[in-house]
Amino acid sequence: MQLSPQLESKFESLLSNYPEDKKRSAMIPMLIYGQDELGSVTPELIVEVAARVGVQPLQVSEVMSYYSMLHPKPLGKFHVQICTNVSCLLTGGEDLWDQACHKLGIGHKQATADGLISLEEVECIGACSWAPAIQINYDFHHEVTPARLEELINGLTEKAHAV
């Protein structure tokens, strides 16, 4: 598999984080950084990572399918993750979730037809004191009000069109 130069060097630096004979430790970081660039954990990525850390592809698949941030199918360009765990539930997280579903016309782990935005109801993201919180890709948004959510989602569409 041909990796971009950035990913190639990221993989190299990840592999260098562990003892020489413990390359397998780099597997999960490689999968998640690989997914960031490729949009999902593709079969090619699995084979590539397996070869680089010295295991069978099955072992990478076992790992990949365990972790909830690793996805075998592409999500939207902007992955909107809404927390509805207790602290967020108490402060309106479920309302935000409903609002997002209605606005985008999609549900849990679904993406808009243009592949731009996907939604996921997530477990606690460690923002309880600033609930309700959402994460768009890796960016946190705290104390999100319905109006702010509206704004954020609209912003994503604009951002996409601007590019």
Partner: protein, 692 residues
């Protein structure tokens, strides 16, 4: 040896070796602690929680499967709390388990069923939906029904640790966890069926056995696998004269529960449609069916005429015949047909090894030594593919006892993964590889050397010299091909050796010579196919063939007798380690007869029955015991399904070496000579990619 540990289980004082797991200590004392995930010999899981018991002073119940015994430990396995925990674990387990026992293959021998019966609740409180996943077929022999799976991870462990294959894994998380095959939607593996066998429920089922029967409707016959030379015990499940299953669930015999695809599924040649079921006689150039009496009379008459004319008989025996049959055949040749031209296809240089070891004792390895020896040197062979039981034993040895495994092979082999040192050599240069690691071998404490047909004749003598120079006990195992390759040698199915490795004064022709010698008058082939692909010189010779199928040789025969297979007769076979075991007939195929009976009937027709003696295997075996050195093993061991190692000659065997005659077929997991060609299951997996 450290002092045993004393503990109390259910008020009973018991002792156990330090380090023993509580579950085993209790079992030794007759107290059963139920378990799903615990499986002796494989890594510990503590996943199923069925084995929770009360241990005094522990804050909560402990898993007996991972708890080593300790001095003074007080354990209770019968309290209300323990019973409640078992009951609730089973209740949890059944929430997502489909209650399709009436149509499940496992019904009747299902560990979950048994557990629920013993420890479970009468009814379920579960009223929610179950998660359904469709059944999948992963290979011709392996089917997987995920909802039935209880996630005990036995299959994953047996494949990875036991077989060294690692074709099964676990995907997803939590309640969605599922066993998955290495190729996404199918398996690329040994197809050994160990995963199916070890599955406590009906989640993994075999393509051969599915929906064929209920377990209690079968008869179970333990016999010896007829394929390779390892001599695994296989228990055949028989219904209406059909074998529908092979396994060794009772773990008896030298192989425990191990079986490869051939032993487990490769019995289906027995009812192949091309199986011969009537004798054939050549009339007007064509083979036509004949009655047994006609064919026997015809053959006896021709044999008698030829014998009267001092004709030259060639006789080819087989590595698939029983000892009794091979013995009877060579006796027939030597005493009735006056010929020493008796031979079979040799696959390992057993004779040279025995000669080179003369004067030593305890130098021949048994199958159990592959598990016990502290160090093992593998020369030439890809054991995992060619000698699967030995390979399995070595892996278990490595897992449990950290054996030092050395490999000296031309290609990469599975043992490399666990090897202490691997040496790659050119084929034919194996001995140089051994010399290379000699210094390292010197530091071991004992060694088992196992080699294939790449070491023979002079190089084998050199190997034994190297072995003898090591400052500790060395055992040897000379690999051979088939279920009775070793026995054929001991029985004297050789032109230069009589039974018991006694040299013959006037050596006869070898197989190769028989095929190429124009002066041969008659050729009698029992269970072999020497004429396949070879031009046969003696065009006029009278050819008699006994076989299951119309082989190339049979096609050229004048008379063909349909023989019974190993699964259809009694007798004994000797495995690669010289261990003698007994066959038991499981089925009968109409129109066929065991080769011993065919030969006996021929003797009777020829009027030489008195010379030849009774054609009953036990009688013949008694004769073997009196004539073949080392075969005087205790009969009760054999008759109770055990294996007894023959103690062969311990003296020189002064015959000329013929390394050029020694050729292994190097059958792999999915081939087995003629039998393999007629096994649908072996052929069906052959179409799949091979394991690497």
């Amino acid at each position: 040896m450290p002092d045993p540990v004393k503990l109390t289980v259910d008020g009973q004082q018991i002792t156990a070796e330090p380090g023993t797991l509580l579950i085993n200590a209790a079992k030794q004392a007759g107290i059963e602690i139920p378990a799903f995930c615990y499986y002796e010999g494989y890594s510990l899981q503590a996943a199923c929680r069925m084995c929770l018991v009360e241990v005094e002073k522990a804050p909560k119940m402990m898993a007996a499967c991972t708890l080593p015994v300790a001095e003074g430990m007080i354990v209770r396995t019968q309290t209300a709390q323990v019973a409640a925990a078992r009951k609730s674990t089973l209740e949890f387990l059944l929430t997502n388990h489909p209650l399709d026992c009436p149509v499940c293959d496992k019904g009747g021998e299902c560990e979950l069923q048994d557990m629920v019966f013993r420890y479970g609740a009468g009814e379920s409180r579960y009223t929610e939906t179950k998660l359904h996943v469709d059944e999948k077929q992963w290979s011709p022999v392996v089917f997987f029904d995920a909802p039935r799976c209880i996630l005990c991870f036995r299959c994953v462990r047996v494949c990875n640790e036991g077989m060294g294959v690692g074709a099964l894994g676990v995907i997803n998380r939590g309640a969605f966890s599922e066993i998955a095959p290495n190729m996404g939607d199918h398996l690329n593996c040994d197809e050994c069926g160990m995963c199916v066998d070890i599955c406590p429920v009906g989640a993994l089922t075999s393509g051969i056995y599915r929906y064929k029967t209920r377990p209690w409707e079968m008869e179970h016959v333990s016999t010896i696998c007829t394929h390779c030379s390892n001599g695994c015990k296989t228990t055949l499940g028989v219904r209406n004269d059909h074998i529908i299953r092979g396994n060794n669930r009772d773990r008896s015999g030298i192989n425990g529960e191990f079986l490869c695809i051939k032993g487990r599924y490769g019995f289906d040649f027995t009812d192949h449609p091309e199986r011969l079921q009537a004798p054939l006689i050549r009339r007007n150039g064509k083979l036509e069916p004949a009655s047994w009496s006609e064919a026997l009379a015809f053959t006896a008459k021709r044999f008698s005429e030829l014998k009267a004319n001092n004709a030259l008989f060639g006789i080819v025996g087989s590595a698939h015949l029983t000892n009794e049959e091979n013995f009877y055949l060579q006796k027939f040749g030597r005493q009735v047909l006056n010929t020493n031209s008796i031979d079979h296809q040799r696959s390992g240089d057993v004779v040279t090894l025995l000669d080179a070891l003369s004067g030593t004792t305890g130098t021949l390895a048994k199958v159990e030594d592959f598990y016990n020896s502290k160090a093992i040197l593998v020369i030439g062979a890809d054991l995992a593919l060619e000698q699967p039981l030995l390979s399995f034993q070595i892996r278990a040895n490595f897992r449990h006892r950290n054996a030092h495994v050395f490999t000296v092979t031309a290609k990469e082999v599975r043992e490399d993964k666990i090897s202490f040192r691997s040496v790659r050599v050119q084929h034919g240069e194996e001995l140089a590889g051994v010399e290379e690691i000699h210094a390292q071998l010197l530091t071991e404490q004992e060694l088992l050397i196992v080699f294939d047909d790449s070491v023979k004749g002079a190089s084998l003598r050199r190997l034994v010299e190297i072995g003898s120079s090591l400052p500790y006990a060395v055992k040897y195992c000379c690999l051979v091909d088939y279920s009775n390759s070793r026995g054929a040698v001991d029985m004297g199915v050789l032109p230069d050796l009589l039974p018991g490795h006694k040299p013959s004064e006037t050596p006869g022709l070898t197989v190769e010579a028989m095929v190429t010698s124009a002066s041969l008058d008659a050729l009698w082939i029992v269970g072999a196919d020497p004429l396949a692909g070879a031009p046969f010189a003696a065009e006029k010779a009278f050819i008699v063939v006994q076989d299951l199928f119309l082989t190339e040789s049979a096609k050229r025969a004048d008379v063909v007798f349909p023989s019974a297979s190993a699964y259809e007769k009694s007798g004994t076979v000797t495995n690669v380690c010289g261990e003698i075991q007994q066959l038991k007939p499981a089925i009968r195929t109409m129109g066929t007869k065991p080769d011993l009976e065919i030969m006996g009937l021929l003797a009777r027709e020829m009027g030489v029955a008195a010379t030849m003696g009774q054609w009953v295997s036990s009688k013949v075996f008694a004769e073997i015991q009196s004539q073949v050195a080392g075969y005087a093993v205790p009969l009760p061991i054999l008759s109770t399904g055990g294996a007894a190692q023959s103690m062969p000659v311990n003296g020189r065997i002064p015959v000329a070496e013929h390394p050029e005659l020694i050729r292994s077929a190097h059958d792999n997991l999915f081939t087995s000579g003629t039998l393999g060609r007629y096994s649908r299951i072996l052929n069906s997996v052959l179409e799949n990619p091979r394991p690497q």
